[in-house]
């Protein structure tokens, strides 16, 4: 399944840089902003995990409102196809490093809705998933345990599966196109982003991105243009 194994954080030779990297990873692990997006019924166990009884904030986890602000996307339960589109858009709008946690059995393989025409089955076909927390539904302790596991992975510099989305975009796009049809597109520019982050890999572009580029209207960012620039171009 993993055609392109991801490198663990490269150890830098400069000890100062190493300490710096470790500090950043430590802070990333200790400050996880999760997106306030109740995708499925597992979301009902998040309020207990967040509120007075289990108090996620003591671990530095707090809910955030928009994808831009968040680090973790919690997929709490089954994702219907309609939701999955929004989830993918949301995921692409989040700022990397970003982590996806699949909560509930339904995200693993469709769970008890395996024969439903409306839900997507395996979440990791569409998005790189860092941690799965199985159960229907997992208890708040399990959710926190899963988050702690993710914390450990981040601290150790191993939680890099967000890079997979850039390196193997074609594969994820294939699954998305399979489900949503060939016209599927989002306003984000994953390939350009992959180039920006030096994550452009052999799997970034392929058959499916070609299909995407055929019909996608590329949304170039609105550059500030001065008089002279436009004069030249026009």
């Amino acid at each position: 399944m993993n055609d392109f194994p991801l490198p663990v954080r490269a150890e830098r030779s400069n000890p100062l840089a190493r300490v710096f990297d470790e500090l950043i990873d430590f802070c990333r692990a200790r400050s996880m902003f999760m997106l306030h997006y109740c995708t499925g019924c597992g979301a009902i166990e998040l309020p207990p995990a967040m509120t007075s009884r289990f108090d996620m904030e003591r671990l530095g986890i707090q809910p955030m409102v928009t994808p831009r602000q968040a680090d973790i996307l919690l997929i709490t339960g089954y994702v219907s196809i309609k939701t999955l589109k929004r989830v993918i858009l949301t995921y692409e709008q989040m700022g990397s490093p970003k982590y996806v946690i699949g909560i509930c059995s339904c995200t693993v393989n469709g769970g008890m809705y395996w024969q439903s025409y409306a839900t997507a089955k395996k979440l990791n076909e569409y998005l790189p998933v860092d941690v799965y927390i199985a159960g229907c539904m997992p208890r708040p302790e399990a959710v926190i345990e899963g988050l702690r596991k993710l914390m450990g992975e981040i601290k150790a510099g191993r939680a890099n599966s967000w890079e997979r989305y850039f390196r193997e975009y074609d594969r994820y796009l294939a699954a998305q196109q399979n489900l949503f049809g060939p016209n599927w597109q989002t306003p984000t520019d994953i390939i350009g982003e992959a180039r920006d982050y030096q994550l452009y890999g052999p799997g970034t572009e392929g058959r499916h991105t070609e299909l995407l580029q055929q019909h996608q209207v590329p949304l170039q960012p609105l550059r500030m243009t001065l008089h002279s620039d436009v004069e030249k171009s026009s």
């Binding site: 984000t188 920006d196 170039q220 609105l222």
Partner: protein, 627 residues
């Protein structure tokens, strides 16, 4: 021939050139050069700004046995400098693509140039008037020159400018009548039209005479300045003038009213004597009346501006409100207040003109100044945005721009005099301005770029450079207000007011050099902090949070109409209750009067009837506003 004569002749020459070849393609450039010549002559007069003796014109014609005298002092020079620079830069602005576009749209470019030049000449004549007679002549010229500029834009403004101009000239005639009355009183008391005789005579006047003299002068000048309750003519008249003309009018034209009031408060009658006229003994004197009028002039038009959806009207209403600060400072009477008030004239001109020009640049490119049809233009017109940004910070009176300095002086003056209510009204005006100008900036330049504006280009350099020059004045005089305060101090000295003790960085415990310095330092720290993060990645505006939905060009995703809806739920009723009602009454009456005047004018004894009609309308107006 003194330098003043050279200046006046040069100005006449500019006007003549404009009227003969103003519609040629190269005329704008030529005229800009001629204005620059005027500017150089003014620079030659610069010693006036540093305490030199007034310069007298050699040409002193007699009229009905009285001599017309022109003499430029520090105050006049200060105002003349602003006038000529404004005239120069707006002409430059109109000299290139804007002028062509204006002509293509069917505008009479030559007439516009002529009108601007006529305004400059008239104002120079007025500002250098040496006695009451030349004052009156200059006054009339300024009124009619302004009228010319206001009404010439009938077609482009959709027929709005004509009625607006007519309304203006009605008010202006009333002002002229008042000035005539003041002249009559003055001549009666002093036996001559000379300022010095009048100053001597004021002391011997009886109370009622003095009061009526002050009121007559004040009426004349406040109407021109657009102070409450005579402010209703100004906004539409300025807003619908052709672009550079509107900018010129908005920047300086109405400030001749303040010039007049400065003369009255300073040399002619004296603020001390005005304060001596007690309306409620021990509580309320005539100076308080001026201060309260000024304070209300700050607040009410500002909050009217808040409701405007047309960028030009919004700015024009603010122009009225800013006049309140100047008068408030002047009426405060001490060195700080008058210094702040006088400095605000230059400051106001320096940001109001580029703001108008920026709006007209946007109009030039997009064809509209309706705030609900714009948005997101910062990506397409960044320099125009910069000009507007600097302008609005100045207009709102936030540090480090120059608008803050002059307002600060006024605030401190009020603080020292223990006037909390006036102080808070001035603050409310500032806050209202912040709200209103942010709406202007947001709705024009921020938010979603509309699809029909995707291909819009930045304004041409012929328009940008004058705007940027003026905007740079805002920054420079904000950082080093001492440059202007020197001139202001000389003007104060010329008026016989207490002179402001200042440094290059400011006055009254304020040092803008330091403040600007730490702001730059702070921005540098902020930039360093910002750059310490990873490089940012630009995204398209459709790549945006919409509750998880996909944004497309079909979504209307821009908040601009009813921008302060929450506030208006609270104060919206106050507008309906008082203000728009009065406005509609006045508009309706003025319209009726204009129509009647038009009818009369086509009869035989035109002049007489016009005079009669104007007087009648004025009386009716006064009654209408007063009740």
């Amino acid at each position: 021939m003194s330098v003043l004569d050279q200046l006046l002749v040069f100005a006449f020459m500019t006007g003549a050139v404009a009227s003969f070849i103003g519609d040629r393609r190269f005329a704008g450039t030529l005229l800009a050069i001629l204005y620059f010549g005027q500017f150089l002559l003014l620079v030659k007069l610069a010693p006036l700004g540093y305490g030199a003796q007034p310069v007298v014109s050699a040409w002193q014609p007699a009229l009905f046995g009285e001599v017309l005298v022109w003499r430029m002092d520090a105050l006049g020079w200060y105002f003349a400098l602003i006038t000529v620079v404004a005239g120069w830069l707006v002409t430059w602005y109109a000299s290139g693509e804007w002028g062509q576009g204006y002509r293509e749209r069917g505008g009479n470019l030559g007439l516009m140039h002529t009108a601007v030049a006529a305004n400059v000449v008239a104002m120079l004549l007025l500002l250098s008037s040496g006695n009451l007679l030349s004052l009156f002549v200059g006054w009339e010229l300024v009124s009619w020159a302004g009228f010319l500029l206001m009404v010439m834009n009938g077609r482009e403004s959709g027929g709005v400018s004509g009625p607006a101009g007519l309304r203006y000239i009605t008010y202006a005639t009333l002002g002229a009548m008042a000035l005539l009355a003041a002249l009559a009183i003055a001549h009666h008391a002093s036996g001559s039209f000379e300022y010095i005789d009048l100053i001597d005579a004021v002391d011997q006047m009886t109370g009622p005479t003095r009061v009526s003299l002050v009121i007559a002068f004040a009426l004349a000048f406040t109407i021109k300045m657009g102070l409450l309750p005579f402010h209703l003519w100004q906004a539409p008249a300025y807003a619908y003038s052709p672009g550079p003309g509107g900018a010129f009018l908005g920047a300086i034209s109405s400030r001749v009213g303040l010039w007049g009031l400065a003369m009255v408060f300073g040399s002619l009658i004296g603020i001390g004597r005005i304060a001596g006229i007690e309306l409620i003994p021990g509580w309320f004197d005539l100076r308080d009346v001026f201060m309260w009028v000024a304070a209300l002039t700050i607040v009410l038009p500002t909050f009217t501006a808040l409701r405007q959806n047309d960028a030009r009207l919004l700015l024009a209403w603010h122009g009225i409100g800013q006049g309140g600060y100047m008068l408030l400072g002047l009426a405060a009477g001490d060195a700080l207040g008058t210094g702040g008030g006088l400095m605000h004239v230059l400051n106001h001109a320096s940001y109001q003109a580029p703001l108008f020009l920026a709006v007209f640049a946007v109009m030039h490119r997009t064809g509209t100044s309706d705030l609900n049809r714009l948005g997101g233009l910062v990506a397409r017109m960044p320099l125009t945005f910069l000009v507007m940004l600097i302008g609005i910070i100045g207009l709102a009176g936030l540090p480090p721009m120059n608008g803050f300095v002059s307002k600060y002086l006024v605030y401190i003056s009020l603080l020292r005099q223990g006037e909390p209510l006036l102080f808070i009204l001035a603050v409310i005006g500032t806050l209202g301005t912040v709200l209103s100008v942010f709406k202007l900036l947001h709705n024009t330049f921020l938010g979603q770029l509309r699809v029909e504006h995707m291909e819009v280009r930045e304004a041409p350099w012929s328009m940008l450079i004058p705007m940027l020059l003026m905007a740079s004045v805002v920054v420079v005089t904000g950082t080093a207000p001492g440059l202007v305060l020197d001139w202001v101090a000389s003007a104060q000295a010329a008026l016989g007011l207490p002179v402001l003790d200042h440094t290059l960085g400011g006055a009254a415990g304020l040092d803008m050099l330091w403040v600007s310095g730490v702001l730059v330092y702070g921005f540098a720290v902020g930039t360093l902090l910002f750059l310490s993060g990873n490089k940012s990645r630009r995204v398209h505006q459709f790549d945006n949070y919409a509750g998880g939905h996909f944004l497309t060009a079909e979504n209307q995703y821009q908040y601009s109409d009813q921008f302060y809806a929450g506030l208006m739920h609270h104060i919206g009723g106050w507008y309906r209750a008082s203000f728009t009602w009065a406005e509609s009454v006045v508009i309706a009456s003025v319209d009726a009067m204009s129509a009647a005047a038009n009818g009369f004018f086509r009869r035989t004894q035109a002049v007489f009837l016009l005079l009669l009609a104007t007087l009648g309308s004025v009386a009716w107006l006064l009654w209408g506003v007063g009740s």
